[in-house]
């Protein structure tokens, strides 16, 4: 090392006379006080006739502030050089060399050279002058934002001199670094963005604004960094950050890029079948996932019974997914959090993006309304026709003559009020209509509006406030004139959330308060024509309030150990007006055992629940690029999705906790080992978890759920339990990147009531509908050139448990099917291979438009995977199971995306 150091120094030679035996023993006399070191040294060199070698600018500005009278020169230098990179080395008794630890300089130089060689932009920041401040340590704060939209980029990585140290921006895009005064090369990375290099000369505290630019011409660079820019060893347990660009490159069902489908490929995440709505996380049910779109909950995230999800990837900025170690600012759902943040409009220029697929087309436009100040982004997607379902040609007539229609639209407005204040508005709407053959049409809709104010009080204290309203509902229209009717269901919620973020030394504190008011219209049936026989039934509205306080602290004890602890205090109130039935004690709850009706007036409290939810996550880097992580969380869930099918249908009911239904309580502990290899070129992770759920809800056999004002007679609560191990290997660099994961996990329930009819499977433990022990996922991306990618994924999972009829017999002159116990059989295993070829347009940034072709093959070897089983009446008059494969053959598709600047 030293040999490489010497050539870059300009050495000064001062003096050549000889006086003392060892120059470091030279006694100071006090005259040095208040003078520059440089001056004093040359005086000593003269006096001692010694040679002192050093680079003047190293010690330029070092002043001797006190008297070292009767102390040695060695002592003085040691004290002056403390906490600097300087040192004094005696080569000969009369030859002293001042050296500077060269490591940082070399690293900096190498980093700078490599950045320049790669054609990276390098920006220079200078804070203070060398020696201008007595501060040996400087604080560099900064913010990482999108160059085009001005939007902050959370969890971007910041590395100092490549390997010296690294950190990440927080969820507001802010970061801070404590450095010894000196020069450094900083690299800023974010998924999908060009790396930015900063040549930093930090001799005083300072602020850096880093703008990263999307869609690099250096495409291969981005691909190499891939999804794993968030490095494995540093990220929090249970959290995955989804890369929107990777999502776009993955093979897609009918060429429709889908966010939730991407979530389904993560370890620990399963789905009950192809095109099934939602996803299941670590053996949890679909309703246990909190899906947030700009902070507001989404109740039904699917189009066409789950063929597609309601989010357009182009309108999404970032997606965080948590399945364990969930921080305290999230709550209300027991299993996972999918936090989707929409994209802000570009503050400087207009962009448009048009996508043409086989079943939908979409358009997205964004740009400045007032340059640099106000921006908008809007998107719209719609189906062409009923092509999709009409193509599902089955013997089962109910699907083949179906009609489908949907759209979704988003609008986002952002306004920079000042440097510290941002105001944004999000609007989101989606509608679906799906009609089975004949007279029944299912319609469902989401509408969401929210306003958010971001304000930074001080560089350390930031905040955001969100006020929003969500409406979710569905109608089932029967158009048969004799029974023309509409069944409708609706949830209205209004929510206010305030969140504060405080950075204080090693602590990052998040705290806040969330309040949500719900109004449920649990069911309404009305005749829709004059001669309809349909009844007119309106069920009473249900009202509740959910509130939570939380405090979360991310504490970086040292380089190796990070702790995140939090506490959330949720409260839930169910209140009137309402009527509640009471039942004979000790008897099965059924209408004939009703003893009384309790009436609650408007606003009167029916039941209140409150809980304490501790959260903890620990990340210990016990060796280089290796870490051990532990997470624990407790979460209460107050809303229950009531369903008697494994796959969610749009007519399922959300039932709030109240007089009879206690909140679900989930406790999860997870632990994992993570290791990066060869400078993060490879990664290995393995995680184990155990989850226990109290008050898990399940339905009685044959439960009647729709338009039922005494659901307590149809539903049971018991225990849920899930455990498993998830292992993944990653290859993050090179032309071929990808990951392979294997999960073994189980999910059980035990519902043991006072009698057989209040128990399931006689109170014995049974597998939940999401118990899929073996899951394998393989995904890869091969960059054949800068613009051509061959991507693919393979997925395998054990078939899910089902309840089936086993035999038939006559009873009372009727044929009766003998059913198995709940979930005692399994549908066949599911496996599928998808391939895609992505051809991106010219990457020249000056070009006004850029097109991308995606050719994909879904189900490449034509496996007939069962989507679900369904039942037909057999000749003996009982249900007989069949399997319905929605995609029983190879399904090629092509889509084209056009991006205009």
């Amino acid at each position: 090392m030293r040999t490489r150091w010497i050539p870059i120094l300009w050495l000064c030679l001062i003096g050549n006379t000889l006086m003392a035996q060892n120059i470091l023993d030279h006694m100071m006399n006090g005259s040095e006080q208040g003078r520059q070191l440089l001056e004093v040294l040359s005086e000593i060199a003269d006096e001692e006739q010694a040679s002192i070698f050093f680079l003047p600018r190293w010690i330029d500005g070092i002043q001797i502030n006190k008297s070292y009278s009767s102390k040695s020169l060695g002592f003085m230098l040691e004290e002056l050089f403390e906490n600097t990179e300087l040192d004094a080395v005696l080569m000969y008794p009369k030859v002293l060399v001042l050296i500077k630890d060269p490591t940082k300089d070399i690293q900096r130089r190498e980093a700078l050279i490599s950045a320049l060689m790669q054609g990276k932009k390098v920006e220079t920041y200078e804070f203070g002058e060398p020696g201008s401040s007595s501060n040996q340590e400087v604080l560099i704060e900064g913010e990482i934002i999108d160059w085009t939209t001005g939007e902050e980029l959370p969890f971007a990585t910041v590395s100092v001199n490549d390997s010296l140290m690294s950190t990440a921006s927080n969820d507001q895009g802010k970061f801070s670094l404590k450095l010894l005064a000196g020069s450094y090369v900083l690299r800023f990375n974010f998924l999908d963005y060009t790396e930015k290099v900063v040549d930093l000369h930090a001799f005083d505290n300072g602020k850096i604004y880093v703008e990263l630019e999307k869609e690099s011409t250096q495409l291969d660079e981005v691909v190499v960094q891939g999804e794993r820019t968030q490095d494995l060893t540093k990220s929090k347990i249970g959290r995955t950050y989804l890369n929107v660009r990777d999502i776009k490159l993955a093979p897609a069902f009918l060429g429709e890029v889908d966010l939730v489908k991407q979530v389904q490929t993560l370890p620990g995440v399963t789905t009950v079948g192809e095109a099934a709505t939602g996803f299941n996380v670590r053996g949890g049910s679909v309703d246990q996932n909190l899906i947030l779109y700009d902070g507001m909950p989404v109740f039904n995230s699917s189009h066409v019974f789950g063929f597609l999800t309601t989010f357009i990837p182009e309108a999404v900025n970032d997606v965080s997914f948590y399945k364990g170690g969930i921080p305290a600012n999230y709550g209300g759902r027991a299993s996972s959090v999918l936090d989707i943040k929409s994209k802000d409009g570009d503050l400087n220029r207009w962009n448009a993006n048009i996508g043409i697929g086989m079943i939908t087309s979409k358009a997205m436009v964004d740009g400045p309304l007032k340059e640099g100040k106000t921006a908008m982004a809007a998107s719209l997607r719609s189906t062409y026709s009923n092509w999709l379902v009409n193509a599902i040609r089955t013997d089962y007539a109910d699907l083949s003559d179906s009609k489908v229609n949907f759209y979704d639209a988003t609008l986002k407005l952002t306004h920079l009020v000042s440097d510290d204040t941002k105001l944004s508005f999000t609007g989101y709407s989606s509608k679906d209509a799906f009609s089975l053959e004949g007279d029944t049409t299912y319609r469902w809709h989401n509408l969401q509006v929210s306003v958010r104010l971001d304000h930074q009080f001080t560089p350390q204290l930031g905040s955001d406030f969100t006020l929003g309203h969500t409406v979710y509902g569905y109608n089932v229209d029967n158009e048969d004139p004799r029974q023309a009717s509409r069944l409708s269901y609706q949830i209205n919620l209004t929510s206010f959330q305030s969140a504060f973020h405080l950075d204080k030394a090693e602590h990052k504190l998040d705290f806040g308060w969330q309040l949500t008011h719900y109004r449920f219209q649990p069911g309404k049936l009305e005749p829709t024509s004059g001669n309809s026989n349909a009844a007119n039934i309106t069920m009473d509205n249900q009202y509740s309030i959910e509130s939570a306080f939380y405090l979360n602290d991310e504490w970086e004890l040292n380089d190796k150990l990070r702790l995140e602890g939090g506490l959330r205090v949720p409260m839930f109130f169910s209140f009137g007006p309402a009527e509640v039935f009471t039942y004979e004690l000790g008897e099965v709850k059924q209408v004939s055992t009703i003893t009384d009706t309790l009436s609650y007036k408007g606003g009167k409290l029916i039941k209140a629940y409150f809980g304490l939810e501790p959260r903890l996550s620990v990340n210990w880097e016990f060796a280089s690029e290796a870490s051990l992580k532990i997470g624990y969380n407790r979460i209460y869930q107050f809303l229950h999705l009531v369903t008697n099918t494994a796959a969610v249908t749009p007519v399922d009911i959300w039932q709030p906790s109240g007089y009879y239904f206690r909140p679900q309580r989930a406790d999860q502990i997870s632990a994992g080992l993570f290791k990066d290899f060869r400078d993060k070129a490879y990664g290995l992770s393995t995680e184990v978890f155990y989850k226990f759920i109290e008050n898990q809800i399940d339905f009685k056999d044959g439960a009647r759920l729709i338009l039922n004002n005494h659901l307590e007679t149809e539903l049971l609560q018991g225990k849920g339990e899930a455990y498993g191990v998830e292992t993944s290997v990653f290859k993050n660099q090179g032309k071929l990147t990808g990951s392979l994961s294997y999960t073994y996990s189980r999910s059980f329930r035990t519902i043991a009531g006072a009698s057989t009819s209040e128990s399931i499977n006689k109170g014995e433990r049974y597998p939940s509908s999401y118990d899929q022990p073996h899951i394998v996922n393989l995904g890869w991306k091969l960059a054949m050139s800068k613009r051509h990618f061959f991507t693919g994924n393979f997925t395998y999972h054990t078939g899910r448990p089902v309840t089936i009829p086993l035999a038939v017999f006559g009873y009372d002159n009727n044929s009766v099917a003998y059913f198995s116990g709940r979930n005692q059989y399994r549908i066949p295993d599911y496996h599928r291979l998808d391939l895609a070829l992505v051809v991106e347009g010219n990457h020249n940034k000056r070009k006004k438009w850029k097109g991308t072709w995606v050719f994909s093959i879904y189900n490449a070897y034509a496996r007939k995977n069962p989507y679900t089983i369904f039942f037909r009446t057999s000749r003996a008059g009982v249900p007989e199971p069949y399997q319905l494969s929605i995609v029983g053959t190879i399904l090629p598709s092509v889509s084209y995306n056009l991006k205009l600047n």
């Binding site: 089955t394 056999d701 009372d812 709940r822 679900t868 249900p879 399997q883």
Partner: protein
Amino acid sequence: MIFGCVQPIEFDVPPAESLVIVEGYISDQDEEYTVTISRAIPLSADSLKQPPVENATVRLYDDENNIEDFQEVSPGVYKTGGAIQGQVGKSYHIRIELEDGTIYESEPDLMKPVGNVEEIRYEFEARTEEQNFVNARKDVFNVYIDSDAGPGFGNYVRWRFKGTYRIVTNPELKVEVLPWSDLPRPIPRDCSGFRIAGHPSGSGYILVQERDCTCCECFVTQYEKAPQLSDDLLIADKQFNNVKVGEVAINNITFYDKYLVEVEQMSMTQTAFEFFKLIRIQKTEASNIFQPPSGELIGNVFPVNSDDRVLGLFWATATSKKTRFIQKSDIPYQLTPTETIPESCTVFFDHSTTVQPESWN
């Protein structure tokens, strides 16, 4: 493009025949009690012909150590001889020993008191149904009852609905069409009492009646499609009011003559009730094609000395019965005359008998 598909799904299930089915009850009526033992059949079976389990030893016990053996009266059908008569307040169970030594036993089931059916009412309802693009009449009489819930045990009540109508057919007019002749050849059923007396050339056949017809007049029984139960009914002052217990289809067969409605109110324990409730759910709930509304039937018959699969319910019930006729004249319009049915009525109609029910007149 075809990409969806439907195919039968195979599960590795135990053979249906390995499941033994036991059906039977004891009532408080002075009658022979019946237990049938059979084997289940696969889902794909064409008809409900279950293999009977023959030569079993079936024994009835009460909670006072009285015992009576059942006798096999036809394959798989076992009846008592009247030594034990069911009484409210007593518990009953049976023990079955198959030829191969397998023993099944039912859990003792308590006979609970029952209330009375106080009134049967019916009400005409006009309905239509589209058939071949034409709206066809599918009118019904809805049958309602009022009843007293019984002394404190109204939570678990079943109403067994049975309807009987009379029909007359013409088995002597049965013919077969011969390929070489334009003229159908009569093949009068033996039971019609007619025979072909001659076939003069150039003319038709001559039929003569030699005996009375024994298969021309039948009484056909219609059973309920599912058990009617009290769980979703409100009890007001120990009364069940306006409970719909059945429907009678109105057509020129069911109303060839008049229609006899019989409603039996039956008491039972929760065990039996849950068993019937699951059957009712299976037969009546709007079926979701993705999830049939049902679960595992449990019953109260369990194996004693093996792990054999058995499903059965032997229950005790106190019953009270009421009947009522619906007259043809209650139909607010004229039915078209019944078409001639050239077949023995016992062959043509399921659940039919030529024996006139006691309560017919």
